[in-house]
Each structure stands twice: as C-alpha cells, then as structure tokens.
Amino acid sequence: MLIRATGQNLRLAYLRSLESLDLVKQIDVSEFLFSGDIAALIYLCNPFTIVACVGLSTSPIENMAVVLCLYGACSRLIPLAAFGWVIATHLSLYPAILIIPVIFLLGCGPDSPPRKLFLQRHQQKEVLNQSKLPPGFSWGPIIHFAFWAFLWSVYVLVLCGISLKQFGGLWEMFKSTYGFILTVEDLSPNIGVLWYFFAEVFEFFRNFFLIVFHVNILFMILPLAIRLRHRPCYLAFVYVAICSMLKSYPSFECTSFNDVSLLEMRALNIARLGSHCITYACNMQFSLFLFCGYVGVSLLSPVMHNLWIWRGTGNANFYFTTAMVYACLQIVLVVEGVSAMLNHDRKLRILITGKPQDAKS
C-alpha cells in the first residue's frame, strides 16, 4: 500500500515537472503506467517475498520501515519519515545511509529533472516564469526532520535501555546487533559471498578486509548523490539495492525489495517521451538475461546447499558459485538501472534543448 502511495506521489511530481517543462503535449499521458500499483503487485507476488514470509523472517518488517520512511519523505509527512528512518536503522544498520536521499527529498521535493534543464529551457524562450520553476533547496524541512529523528531515536534508545538493563544495557545491544553485522562473526552459509570469504581469509588480513567491504558501500554514497541529486527517490532505491547486495548477511527478501523498487523506477521511465524518441527509451538491455539468471540461481542454490550439507556429495564451492552468480546478477541490475536513469535524463535534455542526439548515446 505504501509503495503504491509512493508511486502515486512520484507520478504526480513527474507530471508537474514535465508540465513546467512544457513537454506535456509531447507526452502521451495515458501511456503512463500505474507504476505504483505495478510495483506493489510485483512485490507481493514475488516468489522471493513469499518464500521469505514462509520462512518466518523479519525482513519484511525492515522493508516496511524503509518504505514508510520514503513515503513520509515524499508526502512531506516529516514525523512519519523520521520514525521510519529511525526504526529501519534500528532494525538493521544499513538504512542509515538513506538519510541523504531523505534530506534531498525533503529539501527539493520528489523526482524532477535537473534544474539546469529548467534554466536552459526558459533561457531559450526568454521567459522567466518563476512560478513554474521547481522549488529550490529549502532548509526548513531538514531541520524539522532532524528534530523528529532525534526525538524518535531517543525514544527508541530509552525503551531499549530499560528493557535490556539486566542483560548488559545499551552497549551490549550495540555490540550484539551492529557489532555482529559489522564484524561478520557467524560464518554460516548464506546467499552472500562474505561467509566463505571470512571462513578462508587469513587472520592477519581479516580486519583489513572487513573495513574494505564496508567502505565499499560508503564510498558509493557520494558519487551517486552527486549524480542523482535531483531524483532523490531513485537515489534511495539505488542505495537500497546496493545495500542488499553488499551487506554482510543478505537474504532473498532484500533482493525482492530492490527488484521491485528498481522496476518501479523503470516503469516511470517507460513513459514515452513522445514520437521524437526512438523506442529505445530507457529500457534495460539485460532484462531477459537477468530474469533467467535469477530464476536459475533460485533453483540451483537450494540444490547445491542440499548437496553440500545434507548429502555430503557436493562441496562448499558449488554453493559459493551460485552465491557469486547471484552477486554478479545484482551488480548488473544496479549498474543498468543507474545507466537507464541517466539515459532518461539525457533524453529529456535533448528534447528540451532540441539538439540532435549525440553520437555516443
């Protein structure tokens, strides 16, 4: 439901931005797919989600907290956004990086093409209609958000502290939850690649590699933020996708969530940009490959696990191979998603400025 509402918000924002670009005539609005509804349906019917629910895991709750945060930010419901962010960070460490897209969302408003485009457009027409410009970056909501986030986090921490007083208090809780995620103590096999790595790495290098892998996630925050700051919702989904790929204990549920989020964004991009565009638009090139890859991995991975652990005829390498293929598929998905969004922006720019397409497109 929340995904649907977020989709609706985004669609409205998109329409608004296109209006301000005077592109409405060129777009066939009826071809706008109901991206939010499709995304919600895909999420619910995804076999990964169903399997995760059958396995009684709590990751749907984490995903709900993330979506709550984004919905609140899109709809300008700041306490809700702060609550969602605090709960998502409390449940698992990685949604903490969503603070950046949330700040952008609250500051700039939902997805819109870059401001440069507006300036270029209006420069050409030599009409400066202030009311049609999207609002600039405003600090008011940010401060409001910071206040609410602080309030909610204090509330959560106080509750945890009270209930855990006899077990060692807050420090023990941080060590067991965040520390566990960061130091990768448990080496049980899972669909990620880190368990085998840390089972085989030499003790001397273990801390170094821990830092490298966690910094990998942190490092990409900045470049992505710079390139996609005008589309904070998409930025948020790309962050979620990267986290689900590189986190220390990934699960199928994370994949289903980031699948659905990226697909939603792509559904937005499927909006035709008019007859001037070639139908290439912004579809991904590898969609069939990825789909078959996911199906193959989800079928083979339990088989290899069974062979290794239950029958004793296989090796750890079989299972690890499926995990590696899975990681590669997710990498391709993320990279292609980002390229598709950037392509979409290029198309918009070309439409506005009216220049012929570059040779390199």
């Binding site: 085989e200 990409m220 290794w308 990498i331 990279v335």
Partner: protein
Amino acid sequence: MELSFTQGRWNYESWGGFDPIPSSNAKPPGVELWAVFDAPQHLIDALWKNLTHTLSGLFCASINFLESSTAYSAPEWSFPPASGKLRYGTLPREAVCTENLTPWLKLLPCRDKAGISMLLDRPSIYRGFYHSQRLHLTSTGSGSEGMDPGIILEQTLTVVLQPDSQRASLAHASEKHIQPSWSLSSIFGKQISGRCVLAETSNVYFLLDRGLVAELEHIHKENEKSEENVLISEKFWNNPSFELSAKPDRIFIEESSLLSKNASVLYKFEIEKYGESEPFDLGLFWKTPVVWLCQQAPLHANRFLMGSGNERGAIAISLKSTQSSEGFMGSNSNDERCELRVDVFQVVPWYVKVYFHSLQVFVDQQPKAVSDIIEKIHVSPSKDKVSPGVMELVLTLPCSVSSAVLTIEFDKGFLHIDEYPPDANQGFDIPSAIVSFPDFHARMVFLENDSLNKSPEKSPVMSYTEVLLVPLTTPDFSMPYNVITITCTVFALYFGSLLNALRRRVAEEERFLKDK
C-alpha cells in the same frame, strides 16, 4: 585437583559400575582435569590457565588446550565439594602413551625400578582393554583433622587385562564370563622382588567382590554341607573353589553393607617379607569353573547421536535398568513413592549449538512433561567462540523405571579454517557426560580391630557415557587464495562498472556545455 589420562572405554556391563573401583577409577577417554581453587573468584581463570600449562609441561601432554575458555566449564553442583570455584575440562581426543606414563612414574619414590611398580611392563599394560592413570591432589591446609598442613598426592593406575588362558577360549564369552586363572608373572611377565626402600608400607591387596563371595558360598553349600567362612579360615588353601599361590598376611571382611547381606573379602600381602631371593608372585587357580559378573550401577547410561546431515541433529542420553537394580529396589520398596535420583552433567562445545528448550524426556517409552521428571536444571548456554554449553540436571525417576531417554536438539556451526583439527573430516568430539546416582554411595569399609583400612570416602556412584563424534561441514581447505581473489573480483566489478556508469555522462555533459 584430579587429573586422569585414559585410553579405552570402561565397559560398565562387564566390569561393573557400583564398586569404588569403577566409580573412582573409570574415567572418560582422553584427559580429564578438574580443580577446586581457594582464591577470589576473578583470579580463578588465570590460575586455571597457569595450572593447565604447568601440567602440560610436566606430563608431556597437550593439556594446555584446556586453557581457552571454550574448553573448560564451571559446573555448579555436579561435583560435591565445589561451589563456583571448580573448573572442569576434558580433551577426549588425547592419546595416552608411554610418554605420559613415564612422568607419572617419576613422581613415585622409586619410579619403576623397585617395589611394586616394577611390575609395570609397558607392553603388557598397553595390550589391555583399558588403562588409566590418575592423579589426585588434596591440600590439607586447614589442619582440621589433626594432621599437619600439607599436600596429599594419590596416584592410581587402573589397568584391565585379559589373562592368556581366557584369551584362548573367547568363543562364547558374551554375557557371563568364566573366571580365568592368572598369576602376576603370566600377566606382566615379572615378579615383585622386594619393596621400595623409600616407601613406608608396600602391600598388595586382593579383593573378592561380594557377589563373587556369594557365588562361592553358594557353590560350597551345593557341594558340601560344611561350615561357612571357609574363605577366611586359616586353612584357606583347602578351599574347594580356588587356590592362591601365596599366603596372605591378613584377611579383612567388609562391614555388612546395607544393600546385601554378603561381604567382600580382602586379602593383604605385605611385600616386606619378600626380596630378591624370594620374589612375590600372586597367582589364582580355579579348581572349579565359576561364573560371575560384577555388580552394576542402578541404571546403565548410554549416549548417542540422532539425525542425519550436517546441519542439525539431536543428542540422546538413555538410561536402562540393569539386573542388579532389583536388589536396590527391594530394600526401598516399602513406600510406593520411591524415587531414584539421577544427576546428569554434560558439556557441549560451542560449535554444537544445543537448543535447551527442545529437551524432551521419555520414561518407559512414554513422553513425559519435563517438569514432572526434572527436579532441578542449570543451563549455561554456549556463546560462539567464547564458552561451551553446560547442562546440569537432577532427575527423579520412579524406582520401577526400565528405561528413560533424554533428547535434545542442536544445530551445527561453521568454523574458520584455522579452527579445524588436522583431520577435519573425522569430526569433532563431544566429551562424555557424567551420570551419577547420589542416593547410592560406593564405598567399602573394612575394619580390623581398631584400625581403618580402606578410607571410606563418600563418593556417589558415577558413570561416564560415551564420547560422541560429530561430523561438521568443512569448507574447501585448498582454496583460500582462490576464494579471496574471486570475491575481490566481484567487488571490483561492482565498483568499477558503477563508477564508470556515473562518470560517463559527466564527461559528455561537460563536452556539451563546452560546445555551447
């Protein structure tokens, strides 16, 4: 403190489980060490580390593996004198050889050069079914018994051997064994020629268990109508059943025990009288075949693993009543609510993650509620790589129980490649569990006029279960470099392609703006 090195498993069915000998000398395979410290609580772990290292150097054994907190535990009430200051650790896989026996012998005043320990012929000891060397250290610092403060060191070597005559006729020896004829020279190949000059007393004791005494008297009564107490009369070598090759110096009869009307008989041979010229050789020759079995503990304890696959399984402890349990129940069956108390103590290493909530009890193959059977339970769950899982239970079973089974489920963990032993595919050992019956005390008291011969230490009847071998999943040990490079390649792929995708458009935009 007690340290024992054991090779082999004590066969409770054949060799008994109720006497003091099995109860104190039947030890789990490998090394077992427990120690009670007289120090503040926070220093005990450091003292334990020092102790393990010292003993390891002294006995040429790898007892220092017990120093890490994953190897030892602190039971609360399984060992009577304890209370938080006891530490217990065992190494089930430790092999015992002459290199461990030699330092143990060095602690004796004459080593194995003179005295009774001359008998210790290595090949004959290691050819037996079971051998265990035990060291018990007590410090009497308080001097409460009128003794000077000091340290008492008690060393015990327990060997179970098979005489040659029985080895030859081992065709049908399944349940009851015909008693073999043996002599010290036939078993060890040597005789005792004199005592150690540094020893205050040097004696050889020969014990006839009360069950055997009852059997012999039964045979006497069948054969002749003569008087009783043939065994202790001076003319004992006219005994119709057996003949001893040496004359005992003293004969003791056990004080009548509560549980049976028969009494054990103890013969004492003093070695002072023998010397080089007249070596001591004790031999027993049976004139008529006598069949006899040792008395067993009230319940025979077994332990085994259930389940298949390398992900999860279950441990089951089964207690079966033995034939001798009827004797016990007879004396207690006055009241209908007679109950048998059983203590179970089990330590499980951390990589076998036991789920204590899945404990189930079956009495006579019927599942029972846990609270009916278990009177007290103390559980210390395992922490990964920090401490093992400890479980102490007190069960109260009805006296007429024929079998009781406890099952508990576990998950198997996954270790770093450094933590696997050299032969990783053999599996990992779960140390023996200790099953004890506090209601019954294993002791024998022999009184001769005014002196107390065997010191009656009150120790409950104890038995050790088997050591379990758990196979764990192993990673591929030959692949550390490959795994590291492949994983880093995946990360580089992500890093590079994403940065490339981000960067590409920026350059085009800049070019575009420049053109403008």
